[in-house]
Symmetry: C2
Subunit: 324 residues, 2 copies
């Protein structure tokens, strides 16, 4: 974050390529639809970005869990973000991007956001004057909208800053969470497209539900600020969106109950689903819950992956070139 | 608040009557419809409550700004609250209540809530073992519902605890606010019934507006927790309810602009209206704003009263008997 204060580096000494990783994230976090998310250690997308002389952005290749992404930069989340960065800064040079997908698309773990953030963090490292992380947010939103059709930062924010992040239209704010608190995140091997899971939200919401959700959000935020688990436990319930999306997640009720059965602070759908998450006051509960949630999916014959991570998960990081 | 720990007082030594005042409040506070409010010094309702041998609640008289309130205790907000208190505690004795209304009904300043809280605080002082303030909340909600048809605590909460309070269905939480921050509250002499101003909220709300309001609420809460005026200024905007209620408040746009023109953190309708409020970082701005808001109402030929109070306004208090 001090990069903004550094002297510009002579072009001859600047790296020609950079490699970054952005981690998975839990979007919405039950009470903050489109505005609240946290990062999750253990899975992520990587991007290798090269500075090129042509004034353009090229998606050179997509490897890993997903390979059939659009190579047209305007239709690729990483490409669109870098196009936006180039335009805003008036860069003479362009970028070539190679993506390594470690997060499945349509998983509810921020797969599109992770490619976008990894590419931006790598490209940023190649700039004469790298920008602070918060300043990448607008470009990231320009990328996210290509994937989901909506400018929402609840995955992008925590990937850029790490931990639990409030992401409004214009701003990212990292929120305090006790380091001891953990998340269990279980990804069933079924695909739920973000656009599909947004379609069920098209019709209006009743005032009573909106007010209840407001109250829950306020309890969770206040509980996090105070490190008071009882407030979070009281508030971490989605009464607005979850009832509409639950039918889209196979085995929803059983998996949620498995999550709650291990002293959860709360449990719900991660992002647009079908992944499910729970919050816990310690690592042990989170690990037992993840196992039970995976077992619950398995009752429907659905295989799954599980991640257990501090809620204060990692921010996107630059990696050594060699690890590409 | 230590009353809950005190030894019971022998009946022979206990007072037979008590006198309490509950102050006005700003409900909703733009971003917390039905869940966020703060108390306001300078106006309030008073209640004198006497312990009587009959196992009942009587409203003996209503004086002051309003006199035509129902005397049937089940239809009177103070009466209903005391009936609920009697029932819950299994009290043998009853209460007789005399109300002194200092807050106009239908003003958006919590007039019904204030009578209810003043009566409860006075009655509580007559109990063998007085309850802590938070424990009166449920009885207060039973009273509020008689007046407004809705169980909402955004006026009751700040009246019971003082200052800015988050009032969910089951819980009150006082939120930190810098002592230097002030509110300007201007009450035009027109009546807007709570039930009328709720009717415009019957139809559903669009997801985009709900999300924007969530974000604003989160910014205000985080700004208050951090004492960061810039976050509050960014978030203190009602995009959900104000657009529907603005047409019910005469001169709304002009008055709001007058409030904003004095370095406001934000401005909106107080409670169900027609009173309008603004938040400021110091008393001087709040005083100038209150004057300008009153002048804006006057352009429509509407007289008004104005209050200028710390956002950390007072909690309901017991008064000396003599001041009744």
């Amino acid at each position: 974050m001090n990069a903004q204060l550094a002297d510009p580096m002579p072009a001859s000494q600047r790296a020609l390529s950079a490699h970054a990783m952005a981690y998975a994230s839990v979007g919405n976090v039950a009470v903050g639809f489109d505005i609240l998310g946290h990062s999750v250690a253990g899975a992520g997308d990587r991007a290798v970005v090269r500075r090129i002389d042509e004034p353009t952005v090229r998606i050179a290749a997509v490897h890993g869990l997903v390979t059939d992404l659009p190579l047209d930069p305007a239709r690729n989340t990483a490409g669109a973000a870098l196009l936006s960065l180039r335009r805003a800064l008036g860069l003479q040079h362009g970028f070539e991007v190679e993506l390594h997908k470690g997060i499945a698309l349509g998983s509810g773990m921020g797969g599109s956001a992770a490619s976008c953030v990894a590419a931006l963090v790598a490209a940023n490292a190649l700039l004469e004057r790298p920008l602070p992380r918060e300043a990448l947010y607008g470009f990231a939103l320009d990328g996210e909208v290509v994937a989901s059709g909506s400018r929402h930062g609840d995955n992008l924010g925590p990937m850029l800053l790490g931990g639990l992040v409030l992401a409004t239209r214009d701003r990212l704010l990292r929120l305090p969470v006790p380091n001891a608190w953990y998340c269990a995140l279980v990804h069933p091997h079924v695909v739920l497209e973000t656009r599909e899971s947004r379609a069920v939200l098209a019709s209006g919401f009743a005032l009573g539900d909106v007010v209840a959700q407001h109250g829950n959000l306020a309890l969770v935020l206040t509980g996090c600020h105070r490190g008071d688990a009882s407030l979070v436990r009281e508030g971490l319930k989605d009464v607005l969106v979850e009832p509409r999306r639950a039918p889209l997640v196979p085995g929803f009720s059983r998996v949620k109950q498995a999550a709650l059965d291990h002293h959860a602070l709360g449990a719900s759908i991660s992002g647009g689903g079908p992944s499910m998450f729970g919050w816990y006051e310690n690592r042990g509960d989170a690990e037992r819950a993840a196992e039970a949630m995976a077992a619950a999916f398995a009752e429907d014959g659905i295989a799954s992956d599980r991640l257990v991570s501090p809620i204060n998960g990692p921010a996107a990081t630059l990696l050594d070139e060699e690890t590409a």
